[in-house]
Amino acid sequence: MEKKQITQKEIYDSSKRGHTAWEELKGVLRYKDLIFQLIRRDLVSRYKRSVLGIAWTMLNPLGTMLVMTIVFSRVFSTTKSYSAFILTGLIVWNFFSQTTQHCMDSTLWGSGLFKTIYLPRTSFIVSSIGTGIVNFIISLVPLLIIMLFTGVPIKLSAIMLPVVLLLLSFFSLGIGLLLSAYSVFFPDIAEMYTIVLMAWMYLSPVIVPEEILASILNGWIIKINPLYYLIKLFRSVVYEGLFPSLSLFLSAAGISLTMFIIGWLVFTKKSDKFSYYV
């Protein structure tokens, strides 16, 4: 009995740590219950004091869609069902912009805790993405309603949705990790990022139809935009009802996974130094 207890003791040896990226991955898996609690906290605390609560996750993109449709439908009259077009773009865009910003905020919030207790430092970032996924799924409800109203059929290609969401999550996680890793050392990044996001949105086919962006710089403006592939993928399976071409799918998957790996490696390398910044 005594012996059994001793073998269960955890040994930590600062000179015998494995590769930080790998240690972190193991840590996150061990702390998965914490990640669920953090997601729960984010969802509950966001809506607790508002009357309509979780309905805002659906009303928010609908409201934006309504404004955008009124403002731009005359300008971009070429696209069929412009409101469904905008809403599909907005859902992907909101996921990306909100989760990446949330990653930075939660790392900053967690930095107080990182200085007192050991936690896998990516856990707040991973949970930010988790919160985004829940919001994403909820915001599919208004999309469904709008598609039914405007006569956009839902086709079999929609079964690809989980895969698309997974790729989008990996991409956002990668960007979120990179931003968080550097914003601890340079807080200016958070401010700069809001401006970058605004430009990024107008250079992505969120509101502006793809054909118009394709005419800028011979189409390079969208070819070098990683989000273009993800928005196109999502629109293809939901809005157009088409299975994506293999090249589109592979581009999106390649970009997302590469971004995730880079983000993970950079963040875990930098995070050892977080506690040195008082």
């Binding site: 003791k9 040994i11 914490l34 669920f36 050991y118």
Partner: protein, 255 residues
Amino acid sequence: MSKQKIINSNGNFDIILENVTVRYQLPGERVRTFKEYAIKFAQGKHKKRSFLALDHINLKIKAGEIFGIIGKNGAGKSTLLKVISRVLIPTEGRVVTCGRVYPLLQLGAGFHPELTGIENIFLNGTLLGHTRDEIEEKYQDIVEFSEIVDFINMPMRTYSSGMQARLGFAVASAWQPEILILDEVLSVGDVAFQQKCQNRMREFREKGTTTVLVSHSPELITSLCERALWIDKGEIVALGKSDKITQGYKTKMGV
């Protein structure tokens, strides 16, 4: 198997520090913006002025003992705790701990004001590395110990600071820790609750928990600890029996 081997080579020590050095960058010299960074880099001046918070500390803490650390503000006490609780990776040297390190969260850090007491118990418990099942198992104990049964379904923002501290302590001390880190947190709540806290500490000691206690108060160190360390400017001034150490400290401080 390999774990067993390490334990044997550790002998009877739960915490071992070998030549542990921590060098912080001085805040004034820290580069905060890209512009500064670019200028510094261009000038080739990005070399860092540093501050030694811990200077080649060698220390062994025995399994099951209550070990005190005393020193002035800024002497390196908190840095030492951070190194032990694996929050800070030392710049040089080696830290070995045997068993889960458990720092008591100061007054419920990590509590969320909008969540209820129940939700915060689960949040705080998982922050300490416990699983949902482990928390469910201890849930009743935690609520009873914290004495806030009536408020447990209310949002945390309705709690007084004493209630928050009590809940924080109740969650953190619900599990028998292997290594416990206490940073001046025993002064929580009213006298009756403090008594409960101290009883729980005593229980832990009887069951073999290794405790590291940091305090400004020589009296507390003498009454609770067998051995103590006096640290100043990142260096060990004295290490030994707690009454002798605190005596020396008091003489030096002119208390």
